[in-house]
Symmetry: C2
Subunit: 385 residues, 2 copies
């Protein structure tokens, strides 16, 4: 096992009626709260009313309209508002995009040393943020219990991430009933996103870390069992709850303790979203089978372990590996997600653009072994046409 540090101070309130029971107490210490949300679906499904009711004694400022792949220009309007109105707390109500957006707003509000875009482009470390909490409505990114965020800039087709120890939510409220009204496609995307978060921290090379491996396999098996079940019966409370908790556990810092991490699928996927506007999870479902195919030799030991422990595929030759990659891709397809570039009208010329972007950004050595060169990225993507 490798050395590691772990720190996750987020307070979680999980279950039915937790917005009503816990929110007002959690914001007691704050007076001017900026309520951030996305396209307004929370106004149709009753969540908005529950939140407003819990905050009724507070001075509230609303900032709606944070889009999927939250845009820098949008977020900077919220930053201006937060500064001008002396907001002392932000409440994010939504999925990963709203929460990531709020992480950026919280950091940028106190960022006075230059253009806040540098938090992303130069990964400048900041030491102070506005405190914020979240009400999660879409399990997928794990953002409700981590300190990472991914922000886009549509004017330049960029999608970049940051992580900072000051960017943990103070609390997150996870009520599985908020998932009932989500479109099926967001459920599928969330399951795939969570699945591949685990894979990025697990499917690398062995370092004799059985707790971490088994926790990863636990989450993968749960996603495989509960995912298709949820798409058949969207209002089963326990299935929603199990997927919501699986998704949070998939990226709260626990799985990565003491083990190598890959993240090449995410890095390549981010460029595809930035250039072609494809949903984040769908880009991952496209890229991962390519990464596993092209990197199968260096990943062999963990691939076979993954096959055995997660899919009950017992074997140690090339055919087994092919089968393991096939069932993984088949799982994404069973969730209704297409897994080929051509399904999204991306062709061989577009691959050039993607590779060029990665190269320009200096991301030339991806993966747990820092051995995924631009040539290998091309090979990965060509295998996904």
């Amino acid at each position: 096992m490798n050395n590691f540090s772990f720190h996750n101070p987020v307070k979680i309130h999980f279950g039915k009626s937790q917005i009503t029971e816990k929110l007002s107490h959690e914001v007691e210490a704050y007076s001017k709260i900026m309520l951030c949300y996305g396209g307004g679906s929370i106004k149709n499904n009753g969540i908005y009313n529950k939140v407003i009711d819990a905050l009724k004694t507070k001075d509230i400022l609303e900032f709606g309209g944070i889009e999927a792949n939250p845009d820098y220009e949008t977020l900077m309007k919220a930053v201006e508002l937060a500064r001008n109105e002396s907001v002392d707390f932000i409440l994010a109500v939504g999925g990963g995009s709203v929460i990531d957006g709020v992480k950026f707003i919280a950091a940028a509000t106190y960022y006075n040393d230059g253009d806040p875009w540098e938090i992303l482009s130069k990964r400048v470390k900041f030491t102070k943020t506005l405190p914020f909490g979240t009400v999660l409505t879409l399990p997928a990114t794990g953002s409700e219990m981590n300190s990472n965020a991914v922000i886009s800039r549509k004017s330049t087709n960029e999608k970049l991430d940051f992580s900072n120890p000051n960017s943990f939510p103070v609390f997150s409220i996870l009520d599985p009933e908020t998932m009932y009204s989500l479109p099926d496609t967001q459920i599928s995307n969330g399951i795939i996103d969570s699945f591949i978060h685990v894979i990025e921290q697990y499917l690398t090379y062995p370092v004799n870390a059985p707790i971490q491996d088994r926790f990863a396999e636990s989450i993968l098996r749960t996603l495989i069992e509960e995912g298709p079940k949820l798409l058949k019966n969207r209002n089963d409370y326990d299935t929603n709850a199990n997927l919501m908790w699986a998704s949070t556990m998939a990226l709260n810092g626990l799985l990565r303790c003491g083990v190598p991490e890959d993240w090449s699928t995410h890095m390549i996927g981010h460029e595809i979203t930035a250039l072609f506007g494809i949903d984040h999870a769908k880009t991952l479902a496209i890229v991962l089978p390519g990464v596993l195919t092209v990197l199968q030799d260096v990943k062999k030991q963990k691939l076979l372990q993954y096959g055995l422990k997660v899919w009950n595929i017992n074997g140690n030759d090339e055919n087994s590996i092919e089968e393991i990659i096939d069932v993984t891709e088949g799982f994404f397809q069973r969730l209704g997600v297409r897994t080929r570039l051509k399904d999204y009208k991306i062709n061989v010329h577009d691959i050039n653009k993607i590779c060029k972007r990665l190269e320009d950004r200096g991301y030339v050595e991806l993966g747990e072994n820092k051995n995924i060169s631009p040539d290998l990225v091309r090979k990965i993507l060509e295998s996904r046409l």
Copy 2:
């Protein structure tokens, strides 16, 4: 899944050389540090010197001699010292006894409303403690990453616990190399203690919580695999590391999220330690097989799941359950721990004393169903003669 709240702000530094690399930075903000430890073994194995070296710029006050099953009278001397010397931070260097002791010292130092024993006897809630950190040298209790403590009072043969949201360590340093010099019996005790921590949060009744169940099974399987391996090869770094991390994860609040909890084995075991001075873990190894035997009907579903997932025992009749309980007891014995009351010279008359203590304390309805009456406790203990 049941509703739950989870909050664990402890910062963990895990691995080789972490005392040297992380300790001085973590105590930067404090000026007068009380260094607490046990019988002095840290002076023989080099840990004391490493700690002193890391704290060299600080004003240090030493308080050694915190015994196994830390005693109220001892701890109150430390409280007096902390108050008189205006200590602003406590560093616990040791195992669960030292860390639990420091949790009590940290709370009692600011407890001015009466006799600090009330924190245990009346479970009085306190709102302020001295901040403290830990250097763990004996994995077992999970105290390094939770807010619980168990304190004894030898003058009255009592052993009571408390838990408080203000009693988390600020940080804990876990260096598996500190385990090399432990006696075998402490290793065995630690493995059994961790194992039964998991069992108390897992072996109850099903609530459809597959992540929690699988995490529990992950830790149990790891303890079963790595435990005997460590006793054969005490200086294998990875085996030490895997057991240390398993032990911390066994009782850091994660497994209990959204599931019922038992803790009857612990409640009965505490009385045996308080009355007869037997090691904590050994009392658990004695009591658990009795709890499982006597409660097998209400625990049947989870017992069979435990047998299948942890021991690969496939069956659903009484014989299977007997086999499952037998292999569990056999595991404790393979670690060198005796599992019968008579092995410790406890007889049927002593059982009366134990039952009377539990009754006097009002602990008459133990277990996840609150259905373990004094009569059942007697039956459990009689099955363990």
